[in-house]
């Protein structure tokens, strides 16, 4: 906590919360502290960027052998109510 009672986050806590942040499951107080820290810290900003790059890379792996169109068609067949 800072003197004015705000939740303070250090780099170590930032990295521990980053995956949850990207999943959009951080509770609002933590989320705010997380975003404030990211604005102030070049290293953590970079860290978050790297995590996002990895997630995009992982997602791209699924699309290697099936086209987006085919993929959507298959998923619709499997789950027509979606």
């Amino acid at each position: 906590m800072t003197e004015d009672g705000r939740l303070e986050m250090r780099c170590r806590e930032f990295t521990a919360a980053a995956s949850d942040y990207l999943e959009n499951v951080l509770e609002p107080g933590l989320r705010k502290a997380f975003e404030e820290h990211e604005e102030d810290c070049v290293n953590c900003h970079e860290y978050l960027d790297q995590l996002s790059t990895i997630i995009r890379g992982l997602r791209a792996a699924a699309h290697d052998d099936v086209s987006d169109e085919e993929r959507a068609k298959i998923l619709r067949l499997l789950n027509p109510l979606d």
Binding site: R10, C11, R12, E13, T15, A16, A18, S19, D20, E23, V25, V42, N43, C44, E46, Y47, D49, Q50, L51, T53, I54, I55, R56, G57, L58, R59, A60, A61, A62, D64, D65, L75, L78, N79, L81, D82
Partner: protein, 169 residues
């Protein structure tokens, strides 16, 4: 699926086994979950039993790096800079170019293959296949909390490995 196991041929075999499982079991499918969830569950079960069989055949498990703790990256408690990065986090060289060249993919695949099975399952469903969290938890029969912890560990491990390759480029 490609990312699920380290071995491409084994992956193909698991997919075939999954389709057989679906065909054999479809009459018993009671619609309590969506067809998609049910199929993912068959896939995961086949993959679990087949990778277990493979590692027995190979005479041991794959290399697991259980300790994915980031603690060493930061100044320790009691230090004036406690909790801050010891080394600056350097920007990776042009992620878009890496992505296009397939270089990023190659490093990611390698890092995923090293993950313990429980983490690989989570990252394959969530990040590779894009399955929503609630559905993935249902497929794996784990709590959302356990799911988040595994996802965090898996992503952290992959980032660490990539940083190892890319920071020295």
């Amino acid at each position: 699926m490609r990312n699920y196991t380290a071995d491409f041929a084994l992956g193909e075999e698991i997919v075939q086994e999954t389709w057989l499982g679906v065909l054999r079991g479809v009459e018993r499918f009671e619609g309590r979950s969506s067809l998609r969830t049910w199929m993912f569950r068959i896939l995961i079960n086949r993959a679990r039993s087949m990778t277990a069989r493979e590692s027995r055949v190979a005479g041991g498990g794959s290399l697991h790096h259980e300790d994915d703790s980031d603690a060493d990256d930061f100044f320790p408690e009691g230090h004036p800079k406690a909790g801050k990065w010891r080394e600056p986090v350097s920007a990776w060289p042009d992620p878009e170019r890496l992505m296009l060249s397939g270089e990023l993919q190659e490093h990611i695949d390698r890092a995923v293959a090293e993950l313990p099975e429980a983490q690989r399952e989570v990252v394959s469903l969530r990040d590779v296949e894009g399955v929503p969290t609630t559905e993935a938890c249902e497929v794996l029969s784990i709590s959302e909390n356990a799911f988040r912890v595994r996802l965090h560990r898996a992503r952290t491990h992959i980032r660490r490995r990539l940083a190892g390759y890319l920071d020295h480029d």
